[in-house]
Symmetry: C2
Subunit: 571 residues, 2 copies
C-alpha cells in the first residue's frame, strides 16, 4: 500500500484488531501477516481511519466499508483461446448494468446477450462498474477504481458477464474514469498526492498526473487499466473524458497507457483496444507516439451526432447552435470533424484540427449515448420527439456511414424509457447539492425546478429501466426490424464498413431536404424534407437493396423519388 507521507500505517481487520505495516522503499508499506482471499481489511493512516484500500477489488459493504481480498486466479474462465472481433467494422452496444434489466445485475444482463447477438452488434460497452456510493447511479462518481460495484454483482459477477459475452462472440469494452473521483467515499487523499488543484475539472478535483508524487499516481491509473484487461478478460477500455486528464509532462499519460496496453497485448496474446472519449476534435490522440501522438486506437467523435440531432429535431439550443444544416451532416460523414480549425459559435473560438489520413472506424459515432440522452433536462431520447420514420432516417445515416457506430441500450427499438440523471448519494447535503445543481443548470433553458426529475428519487432511476416487453408492440417492433436490417446490410456489404479517407462522399440540397451518401459501391439517399424529393443519383442503373419504406420509392433514369422521412439504400 502506497502512503508516501504517512508516519504510521496499520492494517485493520474487523473484529481482529490492528497490526502495523512496515515501511519500504518509495512510500510503499507491507503487511507481514497473510490475508487469505475473502478477508476483510482496511487501513489506518497516522491514526485516521480505517479507510478502504485504494486498490481494493471489492467493497462488499459499500465504499465506506472494509475492502475484501479477491483471488483473481480462482475464477473458472471458459474463454480459452478467445480473440475479440476487431473494432474496425464492428458495432458497439452501450449498456448500463443497473437499468439494462429489471434486476440491474451482471447476471441478469447475461440473459439478454442473445438479443444483442440477434441485433448484430459486435462489442458490448459497459458503463462504469467501479464502486460508487449508494446502490444505483450512472457510475461516473466512482471512488474505488479497482473495485467492482457490489450491487451489480461484484468482481465475480463482472467476470461471469465477460465470460458469457465471449461465449457468444461478443467483445467487451469497459468504461473507466480516470479524470476525477466522486465526492463521497473518496479517501485517496488520505494516502497520497492523488489530486492536484493546479487544474480544474467540472466534476471534482483533477487527478495529479504531472505534479510531485505523480509517478505512483500514474502507475495507479495504468495498473487499474491493465487489471481490467488482464484479470477480468475485458477486451478494451473506453476512457472517459480524456480532455480532462491534465498532464503537461513530456510524456502524456495516454502515450504511456497505450504503450503499456500494447505490451500487455503481446504478453497475453489477445487483442486489446483503447477508445478515448474526447470533445477536442484532436487527431493527436490517434497519431502514433513517434509522431507526437498518444497512440490510441480509436476515439469518440461528437460531430456526426450533433449534426444528425440538429438536422432531425430542429433543436438549436446549447451546442446544437453550431449545427443544423445538411451541410454539417455531409461534412461530418465526409471529413469526420465538422469543426477542424473552424470557428465554433458555441465555443466562441476555433475548434479542432483535420483528422487527415485517419480512417473512419477509428472514430466512434452515435445517434444516442448515455450522455446525449441523459444530459438533457428530462433524459428524453431523440426518438421521444420524432416520428419513427424520421428516427429511421437518422439510424440509416449512422449505420450507413464510415464510423464505428455505437447504439445506446434500447435505441434499437426506440425504447420508451428515458435515461435521466440519477444517483443515490447517502450524504443529505451532497444529495441536495446535486439536486439543486441540476435544477440550476436547466433553469438557463427555461425549465422550472419541478419539471426536472429529482436525481435522488428512486422513481427517476426506475424510469430508466428498459421495458423489454414493449419490443413486441409498434412502433418499437418496426424500429427494431430496421436496426437489425441496417446492421445486417452493414455485415453483408463490406463497402459500408470502408472507412478510408475518400470512401464517403455526400451531396445534398439544403432547400429540398435531401442528402445522398455515396459509399464505394452503395448509395444511401435520404429525404429529410416535408415534401416528396426527386434525388439525382450519380451512378447509372440503380436498384433498391433496403428502404425504410417501400410505397412511393421509385427509381428512374433521373434518380430516385423519395417520400418524406425516408432512407433508401441503392446499388
Amino acid at each position: 500500500m502506497w502512503a508516501p507521507s504517512a508516519g504510521r500505517v496499520e492494517l485493520d481487520r474487523p473484529g481482529r484488531g490492528r497490526a502495523p505495516l512496515v515501511r519500504g522503499d518509495g512510500g510503499w508499506w507491507t503487511a507481514e501477516q497473510d490475508l487469505p482471499p475473502g478477508s476483510d481489511y482496511a487501513f489506518v493512516v497516522d491514526g485516521e481511519g480505517p479507510f478502504p484500500d485504494p486498490r481494493s477489488a471489492w467493497q462488499p459493504a459499500g465504499v465506506h466499508g472494509p475492502s475484501r481480498v479477491v483471488d483473481h486466479d480462482a475464477f473458472a474462465w471458459t474463454d480459452a483461446g478467445w480473440q475479440p472481433p476487431p473494432l474496425a467494422g464492428g458495432a458497439i452496444y452501450e449498456l448500463h448494468v443497473g437499468t439494462f434489466t429489471p434486476e440491474g445485475t451482471f447476471d441478469a444482463a447475461i440473459a439478454r446477450l442473445p438479443d444483442l447477438v440477434d441485433l448484430g452488434v459486435t462489442h458490448v460497452e459497459v458503463m462504469p462498474v467501479a464502486a460508487f456510493p449508494g446502490v444505483h447511479g450512472w457510475g461516473y462518481d466512482g471512488v474505488a477504481p479497482f473495485a467492482v460495484h457490489a450491487p451489480y454483482g461484484g468482481p465475480d459477477g463482472l467476470k461471469r458477464l465477460v465470460d458469457a459475452c465471449h461465449a457468444r462472440g461478443l467483445a467487451v469494452l469497459l468504461d473507466v474514469v480516470y479524470n476525477h473521483l466522486g465526492p463521497d467515499g473518496n479517501y485517496l487523499g488520505k494516502f497520497g498526492p492523488y489530486f492536484t488543484d493546479r487544474y480544474r475539472t467540472p466534476w471534482g478535483q483533477a487527478v495529479n498526473l504531472d505534479g510531485p508524487g505523480s509517478d505512483e499516481v500514474r502507475r495507479y491509473v495504468i495498473d487499474d487499466a491493465l487489471g481490467w484487461l488482464r484479470d477480468y478478460h475485458v477486451d478494451g477500455l473506453r476512457l472517459d473524458a480524456v480532455h480532462a486528464l491534465f498532464d503537461l509532462s513530456a510524456r502524456h499519460l495516454l502515450q504511456e497507457l497505450s504503450s503499456e496496453v500494447a505490451a500487455l497485448e503481446a504478453r497475453l496474446g489477445r487483442h486489446l483496444t483503447l477508445v478515448a472519449e474526447s470533445d477536442q476534435n484532436d487527431p493527436r490522440l490517434l497519431r502514433p507516439s513517434e509522431a507526437g501522438g498518444f497512440g490510441l486506437p480509436a476515439q469518440w467523435s461528437d460531430d456526426l451526432h450533433h449534426a444528425l440531432h440538429a438536422a432531425l429535431t430542429g433543436e438549436r439550443t446549447g451546442y446544437y447552435e453550431d449545427f443544423g444544416r445538411l451541410e454539417h451532416v455531409a461534412r461530418a460523414l465526409e471529413a469526420t470533424f465538422v469543426y477542424a480549425g473552424d470557428y465554433s459559435l458555441h465555443r466562441d473560438r476555433r475548434h479542432g484540427q483535420p483528422p487527415t489520413g485517419l480512417p473512419g472506424w477509428r472514430f466512434v459515432a452515435c445517434l444516442q449515448n448515455h450522455d446525449q440522452v441523459g444530459n438533457r433536462a428530462r433524459g428524453d431520447r431523440i426518438g421521444h420527439g420524432l416520428s419513427p420514420d424520421r428516427l429511421k432516417v437518422g439510424a440509416a445515416l449512422l449505420l450507413g456511414g464510415p464510423f464505428t457506430p455505437l447504439l445506446f441500450q434500447g435505441e434499437e427499438w426506440a425504447a420508451s424509457a428515458p435515461f435521466p440523471y440519477f444517483c443515490d448519494h447517502q450524504d443529505a447535503a451532497l444529495a441536495q447539492a446535486v439536486r439543486d445543481g441540476r435544477r440550476r443548470e436547466f433553469a438557463a433553458f427555461g425549465w422550472r425546478p419541478e419539471e426536472i426529475p429529482d436525481p435522488q428519487d428512486p422513481a427517476t432511476f426506475r424510469a430508466a429501466r428498459l421495458d423489454w416487453a414493449e419490443r413486441a408492440r409498434e412502433p418499437h417492433a418496426s424500429v427494431l426490424d430496421w436496426y437489425r436490417a441496417l446492421l445486417r446490410l452493414r455485415r453483408e456489404r463490406p463497402d459500408l464498413r470502408d472507412g478510408r479517407p475518400g470512401a464517403t462522399r455526400a451531396r445534398f440540397d439544403e432547400a429540398a431536404g435531401w442528402l445522398v451518401v455515396e459509399r464505394p459501391e452503395t448509395t444511401l439517399a435520404v429525404n429529410l424534407g416535408a415534401a416528396i424529393a426527386r434525388v439525382p443519383l450519380g451512378r447509372g442503373e440503380a436498384r433498391v437493396v433496403l428502404s425504410s419504406r417501400e410505397e412511393g420509392v421509385e427509381v428512374g433514369d433521373e434518380g430516385v423519388v423519395l417520400p418524406p422521412h425516408t432512407a433508401t439504400f441503392l446499388v
Copy 2:
C-alpha cells in the same frame, strides 16, 4: 478595439471629451475620428474607466495613464538589407536595460555595444520591455504587452537600440511574457475574456488560450509577437515560461505562432527566430508541427546549468538536489537532458523525454541567467562564492560545449553586482505582499527576513547596476580575458560549434574530480578536484591551445597533468 461583451464603448481624449465608438463584427469597435500620431487616448467601457488601450504601443504617463498613438512608419531605420547571424553557432548576451548602465535606458545601452562586439557575442537578448508599473523592475510583471516601458526610452528608444545593434552586426532577441500579466495596471479583463481560472500559474491569472473567446486572445498574443519582429526589427523572441501557456485545444498556440512567424519571415525576407523558455525537458517544442511538435527553432535547457552549478559550488538545496556529480555534467553535455524520462527527486516524478536527433544549438544553455541569479535569496552570482579559477572552469564547460551559450550581463567579468529581485509597485498593499512573499519563500531555506533584500527598496535595484569600471581591476580583468578567449576559440574552431548528436563525448573520474569533453577535433580537460589530476587523453599527440592557467599543465604520453581548478583545451 475588441470588447465583445461591452454594450457601449467611448474614446476618451484627455481634455477633449469623449466620443462613442461604433460596434462592428466580432466584438470590434471603431472610432470614427482620426487620431494623429502623438495623440493621447483611452477607452471607457460601459461607463467604467478610462482605461488604456490593450494594444497601446506607448504609455508615456505609466500603465494607468492614457495611451499614445505611435506611427511605426516614422522611424528612420538605417539597417536596410540587415540579416542577423544564425542562432546556430552564435552566443547570446542577456541584458536588463534598467541595470545594464547607470542611466538604465536604451540609449545608454547603445554606448556599451562595442564592448559586446569585443567580447564576441552575436545576439543581444533584452529582458522584457513591455510597460510595467513603477519605474524599475525585472519586467515580468508587464501589463501593456504592446507598449515599450517609457522610463527605458519608449518605442523610439527601443528602435534606436535595435538599429544600433544591427549596425554593429548584433542580432536582437526580445524577451516576451505571454503566460500571465502583472497584478497592477492590468485592465485587460475590462475589455474581454483575456483570462481563465481553468488553469493556475504561480504568477497570476492564466491567459485564456482555449476557452470561449480565445480566438481573439490568441490573435492578441500573436499580433504582439509579430509586431516586435515587424515594427521594431527585432530578430527573434524569447518566449517566457511556455510551460505556463495552458492550451489544450487541438492546435497549440505555439504551433500557430511558429507557423505565423515563418510566414512573416518569408514576407519580410529577413531571418526570424523563436526561443522558448521551458522547464519540461520536452523535445515536442522543437519537433515540426507535422510530427506533432510546436515547430520552435530553439528552447532553453536548464540541466547543464544545474549540473554545473551543483558540481562547482557543492550546493544541494532546492532543485540542485537532482544534480551534483560529474556524471550529471557529462550527461548534460552528451545528451542535453540529464532527466529524459528519469526519476527526479526534486520533482518527485519522472521528468522529460530524450531529445533524440536534435542538435545542441537548438538548446540555449548558461552558467548564469537572470533567474538563476535573481531567484536566489540575495541575488548573488555564482562567481560570488567561487574562486576565479573555479569559475573559469565553469565558463570553459559552457563555451566548450555543444549548446548555444547565453551569458548574463556582467558574467564576463565576474561582476560584483548581484541581481536581486526588485520591483517598484505603487500599490502599498501589493508592495508589502511581494516583500512578505519573498521573505516567506526563503524562510524555508533558513534565511531570516532581514537578510532578504527588500524588493521595493531602491537600494536593492541600485545594487544590481553593473559597475563597468571594475573590469579594469583583478580578478575581473582576468575573467574577462578568459571569456573573450573562450569565445574567440569557439569562433576559430568550428568543431566547438558542432552540436550534432554524437559530436560531444564526456569521460570523468568522480573521485579524482576530472572530466574530459571530447569534441570532434578539440579536447577540453578540466580538473574540478582539490588535487593535481593526471587525465588520460583518448587521442594521440596533443598540444594545448588554451588554458585557464599555464603553470603546472603538462602534456605527456599518458595524458595531461592539470593543477586543481584548471580548464585546458587541447588539439
